[in-house]
Symmetry: C2
Subunit: 230 residues, 2 copies
């Protein structure tokens, strides 16, 4: 399922996407050059599994297009999303400095292109290049605070509150109203928020009274301030 996919050096469009990621942008020219030298681009279809929990960890990833799910399975087969990664986001940093296996299943939520980097090569690069080491640190730190937020929100907020919070982070700042296009399926958003799809649906309808209108993936927010009060 893996090596059957096209495995290529990056073309210039992909290089641009990679170079345009917020954190990569922080790298200097030479560091970026080193990174692209060890990168390969891989393509996956929806539901393809990139790796399973427990598999020997080989790669660090950067999503170029589409969305990727990191999730755990319980003994009885239920799934819990740990993170949803979109274009420009990276995952697998922590494997550079820890145990030899993936800690979660990795699955393409839709058609996806990713850049991947052999951990061993990247480890060497990070040792040699201060910029790259700093890049990795920063993204680990960013993931850490994100996931701390996630724990706190799971424990403190109800479903409509978590949804409102998500919508607010997707709004442009300082606007009184907004329209948002969800970048992925609602079922994926449900997983990201730690909800069953039905619960997400009900959360949306409970936000109607706060002036939120839903038409497919298009979300209209009348009053951003009202949403903050939820």
């Amino acid at each position: 399922m893996d090596e059957m996919n096209k495995r290529l050096k990056m073309n210039s469009r992909e290089k641009n996407i990679l170079a345009g990621t917020p954190l990569m942008a922080a790298l200097g020219k030479p560091a970026l050059q080193h990174m692209t030298e060890i990168a390969t681009v891989v393509h996956f279809e929806a539901r393809d599994i990139l790796a399973r929990e427990g598999d020997p960890a080989e790669y660090f990833y950067c999503v170029l297009t589409g969305y990727v799910r990191l999730f755990r399975l319980s003994r009885d087969g239920r799934e819990a999303d740990i993170r949803i990664c979109g274009p420009g986001e990276t995952f697998g940093e922590c494997l550079l400095y820890l145990g030899p296996a993936y800690r979660y299943h990795i699955q393409a939520a839709e058609t996806v292109t990713v850049a991947r980097f052999e951990l061993s090569k990247l480890r060497k690069l990070a040792d040699e290049d201060r910029d790259i080491a700093r890049f990795i640190m920063q993204s680990m730190a960013a993931h850490l605070v994100n996931i701390m937020d996630c724990v706190a929100n799971d424990r403190l907020q109800t479903a409509p509150q978590r949804l409102a919070h998500y919508l607010l982070t997707s709004c442009p700042q300082n606007s009184t109203s907004a329209s948002i296009r969800l970048p992925f399926q609602k079922s994926l958003l449900a997983g990201k928020l730690g909800l069953a799809p039905e619960a997400l649906s009900r959360a949306f309808s409970s936000l109607k009274r706060a002036g939120v209108t839903v038409r497919g993936r298009l979300i209209l927010i009348n009053d951003v301030g009202a949403l903050r009060q939820i």
Copy 2:
């Protein structure tokens, strides 16, 4: 509340505790030397607040004795523990590379001694000393996988399962039975597991049928294997 506490260079006992922490142990002599040079020791009483969410972030911490809570407050005043840090554990790494403020409240859960390090000084040390940078990377990576576990467990497991999981991680490996002494109050454990104290109590009593006996902080486990089946 802060500068009123004794603020001292470390005495040799404290140096030993610091040097004995699992991750510090990975540092070479010179790196350890550098770290202890910029460390100060501070003492807090139960319920003292070390910092509040939103406060400008000044310090990175290593707990020497006692337990410290990192938690969030909801608008209506409920608290959610994000992490409980015990002897040898560190927190605040992510602040070295991110925004200027603490992301959570920090509170002494009991009488506590901590070593603290000015972020600015530590940032400089990490830039100069490869070992120290690696130490920080490793502890961030470790926190990251821990908290990913936490999200997955919160979303997949019931209260008794989470408790069983905690007890199992506190057991010596490969034993068929075990006795554990909880290192802190049950109410703190409840917070760590994301439960109300009452729910923890009920989780304990539901584990009785799996051969778990509770007497105060002392937990007896008849059959470790049975606990794994929960």
